[in-house]
Amino acid sequence: MAGRKGNFSVVGHSQPRLDGAEKLTGRATFTDDVVLPGMLHGKIVRSPLPRARILNIDTSAARRLPGVKAILTHADAPKVYVGIEQPLFRKDTVNYVGDEVAAVAALDEATATEAARLIRVDYEPLPAVLTMKAAQLPDAVQIHPKAKGNIAWAQNSDLGNVDDAFAASAHVRTDQYTTAASHNCYAEFHAVVADWSRPDKLSVWTPTQTALLFQKSIARALGLTDGAVRVMSLHTGGGFTGRSAARPHHFIAPLLSRQAGRPVKIRINGDEEFIVCRAGGEVQYRFRTGVSAGGLIRAFEADLSFDTGAYVESQMIVLTLTSSYIHSLYKLEAARYSGRLIHTNNIPYYFHHGGGIAQMAFGLGLHTDALAREIGLDPVEFQLRNAVTKGHTNMTGTFIGSCGLTECITKVTKKAGWKRKYGKLPPLKGIGIGVGAMASGAKGVFRHDTSAAFIKVQDDGTMSLIIGLPDMGQSSHTAMAIIAAEVLGVQPTDITVIAGDTDITPLDVGAFTQRGTFNTGNAVKAACLDARRQIEKTAAAKLGVKPARLVFRDRQIWPKGEPDKAMTFRQAVYDTLHSREGRFVMGRGFYNSPKETGTMAYSFGAQVAEVTVDPHTGIVTVDRVIAAHDVGRAINPRIVEGQIDGQIFSGMSQVLYEEMLLEDGQVMNPSRLDYKMPRSHEMPAVEHIIVESVDPFGPFGAKEVGEGPIVCTLPAIANAVANAIGAPVNDMPITPWQILRILGRSKPRDT
């Protein structure tokens, strides 16, 4: 393998994804495509009210309907919990519109739907708490007894001497922002198939970002050992952080299956998807920053309130993520974080694309931009002065081993012509910068953050790479094949990636917190090095040199400097097996970061967006986005570009379009039609700049790219809009009516 410069045979060269042809011809199997013998169809009965007492549940009419094979209510699963104070089915009270009350399974969907309709639930409506403000009033209804004041979780931290640092600041600014409730809107609707007809083994087919966590949570909730639960993650049609945890239907389908003695499929349709996905709730932010006379950040204070909805499962992670974010971007002396999850009778909060960090970056970018201008600094200059650099250890104890942040900012602003344009554009045209960082995996879920891999090499020179990491579209499987191919000197097309069956594939925490490339990549590398050593032994003996001298490349093996002596990779594998020892080549490896907490590496990025605002309609057009991203090393450059593209789309969508409108706890726009996301026409021209800072710990120097870009897009576009209208914006999404309201209020901008 080559050194820092990167004379790689495979890594760094754009490859088509290995499962592309399958997906392009309609042969890729998604969960809704699974059909099993005797399979039934399930439907869930949900609360229509945001808060109510359950007076009675009458399932008798449903039971009499021919074709109904299973019915569940709380009485059938009293000990099954899916979250804190959240039993699978409600017994006494329902706490949000959509809360699960009962479920049925029947021979076909129409019968299941009819049966669900026939289940009669009598409710006594109770006063509901629908805003964070209402939830925090002294006489507010307590949604859960243990969450005093409706605070489900709180996290506070002080690093450094915060009050002193503010006092010593030459300038202090405070801003407030909100981001709206939102939804992931993946192309694949939620579905699950469960087969618990065998009492000793439960099989579950589902899209997921983490088969391991699904396996564990399903096992724990249903009182099984991990090994009794087999999770098969088929092709996953988009994750965007929203498929990192099992949902109630993942527990309901197995229970229906056990009662019926047959497999059960639950497919979430239409508006139900907006309840089940539960991406982001409303968040309120207050940022306060103190800077020196030269514009260096001394102190930073963040106060965040999350509408966490009716229940808490694992959402407290977002407090950890948002509390540490500032330290990944800037050097500072002191920081205070106060964050809280507040219960309301709205849909439970879960993650949207950007994991809470991108949404925070919306306000943070606007805040630092405004601060810069207030002290007479160009916003780009402000970012450059404060950006973290390589070798810095931040206040959370993370050592920054590689850092291309400054390079990203410099390159992107140069390409955008920032100096020519900033402050010089005509009214209603704007330019804005957004910077971002993203951890490449981080510890916090378990004590470990392990990924493991096996590689099985056949005597025809092809191999199977067996990993536990799902591919939800980010092309992780192809990236792993590229890493494997580089180590063993073959082509990615020689490798079959096998993933997504917890009975077979090794442990992997999963594809979230952007850990795939880094963690699983390192595990794959370790496994392939193990296999390589086995082959080296044979080749070294055959070629008469020490193993360390061997080069593996282009499906050949030769002593360094003597390519004329090459033997084929295939021959070496063949000889290893067809020997007296009869050694079958199998490699294994795992990776667990040596850190106790936090991340081994951040990716960094900067984007510049240019927008035009229509003063008659308030509609914003994003004209151009230039994106620079430090990915450490681009394993597959075309995929990196595709990730950047997709995240710019997603970021633009959140800043300007997406809003889950809740009224009385109910989603008013629960469809792909009324929940607004842009389409092809709205996409701006995008230019990519890939920066490679070659991380010392990442596989071949690679870091994440799965969420770093979107963190930059939100502030870049937000700042561009504020620049275009010459007035602050504080609420996301920046809707046309918000724009017209602001334009109607503010004076014409001085050019």
Partner: protein
């Protein structure tokens, strides 16, 4: 479940419709009916498939009318028809802005003209509606949108309607009782439930466009281009030169239960011509023509500001358009 019938011609179709009474639905493109049926908003006993009926096809001159457009024309074909594009661009633009190309390949002009009004309290699944008390549209006695309203305030989101209203088109409707023509201006009601004057046994068979050397334009303000109902639409048709406007019909769509003819705005243009100051005043007057606006899909304050902005935009573009030649 419903019964499906497929008449071979218009006579059979109207007979089936008459026999079906209030529980028969016409199926042309299906892009709206199937969604409504799935949501349980309509549960016909009989579905009459009229796609491809020969009498609903055809586009060409017809007696004294320069153009008769069969109501069965797919919106894709309407948007691309050379005569429409050349002589009635507002109609082509309107047709082209409906849904997506996928939808336009299936949906018809007749279907779009009859498009039921929309409201986010009713255009939802049955399970969703179970959270709400029934309203005027769902056999109840109140309006969730404007609480004091004695009628349904759901919004008419047809795009071809405002364009054709600006063009002062007529419709041809056929039933077992015979054939009649109705001006589009008399076709819509300001009522979210009974939103047209079409009888339950009538089929719209054609749209008739009058003779006029007319400058027209249609625009739609949407969150995104494609697959979106508008926050507001505006269609305008003027005859005469900028200094001597003979008629100015300006219509706002997707802001009320019917397409709204902005009469005051139009009167200002006729009186003063198409110039910057008259346009500005017309735009301001448009707000008054709107009346009370419902808080559906976007805030009412926005809708009013939007219509004003669209009037400015559209009239300014028309002012700069060359006069049409025969």
């Amino acid at each position: 479940m419903f019964r499906y019938v497929r008449p071979r011609d218009l006579d059979e179709a109207v007979a089936a419709l008459a026999a079906g009474g209030d529980s028969a639905s016409l199926l042309a493109g299906g892009t709206d009916l199937l969604v409504s049926m799935r949501q349980g908003l309509v549960a016909p006993a009989v579905v009459i498939g009229i796609r491809g009926l020969p009498e609903l096809n055809g586009i060409g001159p017809h007696g004294e009318d320069p153009l008769r457009i069969g109501a069965g024309i797919a919106l894709t074909d309407l948007a691309e028809h050379p005569i429409i594009v050349a002589r009635y661009p507002a109609l082509a633009q309107a047709a082209r802005s409906v849904g997506s190309r996928h939808v336009r390949n299936m949906a018809t002009l007749g279907g779009n003209l009859r498009l039921p009004t929309r409201c986010w309290y009713t255009n939802q699944s049955e399970n969703w509606r179970a959270s709400r008390i029934p309203c005027w549209k769902t056999d109840g006695g109140l309006c969730h949108v404007i609480k004091t309203s004695t009628t349904c305030r759901a919004i008419n989101s047809s795009d071809t309607a405002p364009a054709l209203l600006a063009l002062d088109a007529r419709l041809e409707a056929v039933s077992v009782r015979g054939r009649r023509e109705v001006a589009l201006a008399d076709f819509y009601n300001d009522d979210g439930v009974n939103h047209t004057t079409l009888a339950s046994d009538e089929i719209i068979t054609a749209v008739l466009l009058p003779a006029a050397r007319v400058r027209t334009l249609f625009t739609k303000a949407t969150a995104r281009t494609g697959l979106d109902y508008g926050y507001g639409t505006l269609a305008a048709a003027v005859t005469g030169s900028n200094r001597a406007i003979r008629s100015a019909r300006i219509v706002a769509g997707s802001v009320g239960s019917w397409p709204v003819l902005l009469a005051h705005a139009g009167a200002i243009i006729v009186e003063r011509g198409l110039n910057e100051s008259a346009i500005a005043d017309a735009a301001a007057a448009a707000r008054e023509d709107l009346g009370e606006v419902a808080n559906l899909f976007s805030p009412p304050g926005y809708k009013k500001r939007l219509v004003r902005g669209l009037v400015l935009q559209v009239l300014e573009q028309l002012r700069r358009q060359k006069l049409p030649v025969d």
